[in-house]
Symmetry: C2
Subunit: 326 residues, 2 copies
DNA sequence: AAAATATATGGAACCGGTTCCTTTACAAGT
DNA sequence: ACTTGTAAAGGAACCGGTTCCATATATTTT
């Protein structure tokens, strides 16, 4: 592999001249042509390690995702990728399988690699996160969880929860089952649930059940096959679209129809909710916008400009055919 | 940010000693302890650029994907990621939106970044690919398309196509619509279709229609809403699961039932085919295995061992509820 | 106790770029 | 003709690590 030294030697100039040629310094036309020719002949490709070592920055943005089998992940990933590409950044994607240890490790690894910034699709933020992030000289943008010690985008989970609960009530449902997830995930497990329950519990004549299931489709599906017959709700309010899909499938498997016998709704607005029939009522989170916003924000931060630490994004209710009035 | 020089100075040793400490060379217990302490105090993190510059290799594997909105992509991504992590490699994911220019650019960019290897989920392979890849000193593994000039994993597309066509015939369907994609994608557009048509055309008393649609769900769905009423087949044989989902949704929208009025099948074995009801008959491609195999193969290549240029993976038919006998 | 060997450490070169500082050469200004 | 200014190029230092080689000290062998 040719290096800048080879080019300089073959072209009969100093390597500083070659570097100047590459970076737009003053080089005579004649020299330019020689260098150009030599580069073409050798198929020269500059080494980014050497560049970054000196220049002390890279065009890498690291993104840490909790799981690779989630539609929400893909939607955000896609939007961030699209937006980042416009600004000539390169995405380094890494998946931690919701393992906190790996998350910490990965923040370190990214920092070794001198990424320009880190985006963290968080589930839980611990003290160790805080210590590490505060010690880091790389900006970190947390998406999806409230966080006091660095930049973060959050969704108004409570309001989203309330919206959906009100929707269920407005359709006259009184036998409601809420399928939530573990509270380790503060946003989804706690706040979203809180929003839902705040509204539902205010209504005293309700038959309300709450059950914890898993983010994973298959696990939840198997659980529900056993659980659903013991409760027979008229409305299943699911904490994610994925769970809603599992509930939908389980309901059909148990011989009931959606929405005729049971109404089902999710949260997220994954495109997959439109693929099934009936399409699933959901609260759409602005995943598409998150990408643009995140990149914009990062640019400001990297330019040393002052920006708001926290941005709150508002989800919107999307009523489709999986819920109906009774 | 502390560097190795700072550590050496603070610990009162030479930086070579610090480096030795980091890489397991011979260092006395006493010195070790001092260095350890200094590192802890300063929160030292080695710079991978500097390391890679000298060591001339990185633990990065670059993967180029044609689109980020495909279930096939996700399945492969997930399996490669899982397997790579076991071997302490880091995945660099980049999406080219099926743009050949960007694909070429990205191979170059990866090569600048001195990735250890490149995995290319290919759609088309041009002469420019060949030139570039042959000039590169980095191993490239192509997945999904036949390729003579570098390592590649391919699926037996023709046999997959035949399987599905035979399935359709065995169910006594005689009015078959094949929904294919553009032949730019050799594997899916040409070979898969060829397998299907080889079998179907051998059967003379068939009413066979062939139509080209798009990989994109939404585009295909809209096309089919107009097209399907003009042909009314009893079996829609779709080139991908995604297309099958669109066909399924369009069929329902047009007031027909699946599989009672129309049978539908796809290719791929995406987990989403199990989410809908009825579950969609498909040919399962061994995406999960591809990850393990790819990483295994790369390890051998990187160790300088001789390996087969081409591996052929065999897809299997999975009959579910979206196809039925008439 | 002397010689041979192993361990611990420092110094310097090196990886492949960028950048600062000089020097050279030539054109323009007075 | 002499100063001044500017474009073009070279030289060397530097970024933060690794590694080779030389040297000093400690340990083992005979």
């Amino acid at each position: 592999m040719a290096t800048i030294n080879d080019i300089a030697r073959l072209a009969g100039v100093a390597k500083s001249t070659v570097s100047r040629y590459l970076n737009g310094g003053s080089v005579s036309q004649a020299t330019k042509e020689i260098i150009e020719k030599v580069m073409k002949d050798t198929g020269y490709i500059p080494n980014t390690f050497a560049q970054s070592l000196k220049v002390k920055k890279s065009n890498l943005i690291g993104i840490i995702i909790p799981r690779l089998n989630s539609y929400a992940t893909y939607e955000i990933l896609e939007s961030i990728d699209r937006s980042l590409k416009k600004h000539h950044y390169q995405l380094l994607i890494t998946n931690t399988d919701q393992n906190i240890e790996r998350e910490i490790e990965q923040i370190l690894a990214f920092s070794k690699q001198k990424v320009a910034a880190i985006i963290l699709l968080a589930t839980t933020l611990t003290n160790r996160h805080q210590q590490l992030i505060e010690a880091l000289d790389i900006p970190v943008l947390v998406i999806g969880q409230r966080c006091d010690f660095t930049y973060n985008f959050i969704y108004n989970e409570i309001s989203a929860g309330k919206m959906m609960a009100e929707h269920a009530l407005s359709l006259n449902h009184r036998q409601i089952l809420y399928l939530g997830v573990n509270e380790h995930d503060v946003a989804v497990g706690k706040l979203r649930k809180q929003g839902v329950l705040d509204v539902l519990k205010a209504n005293s004549q309700l038959m309300l059940k709450v059950k914890e299931v898993d983010f994973n489709y298959e696990i939840t599906y198997q659980m529900l096959l056993e659980y659903l017959p013991t409760v027979s709700p008229s409305y299943i309010l699911c904490a994610t679209d994925n769970i809603a899909l599992a509930a939908y499938k389980a309901t059909l498997a148990l011989g009931k129809r959606v929405p005729d016998d049971v109404s089902i709704s999710g949260f997220g607005g994954y495109s997959i909710t439109n693929l099934v029939t009936p399409a699933i009522t959901t609260v759409r989170y602005p995943y598409k916008e998150v990408g643009d916003l995140a990149v914009l924000q990062l640019q400001h931060i990297l330019n040393g400009e002052e920006v708001e630490r926290q941005s709150i994004l508002i989800p919107v209710l999307e009523v489709k055919q999986s819920t109906r009035k009774i």
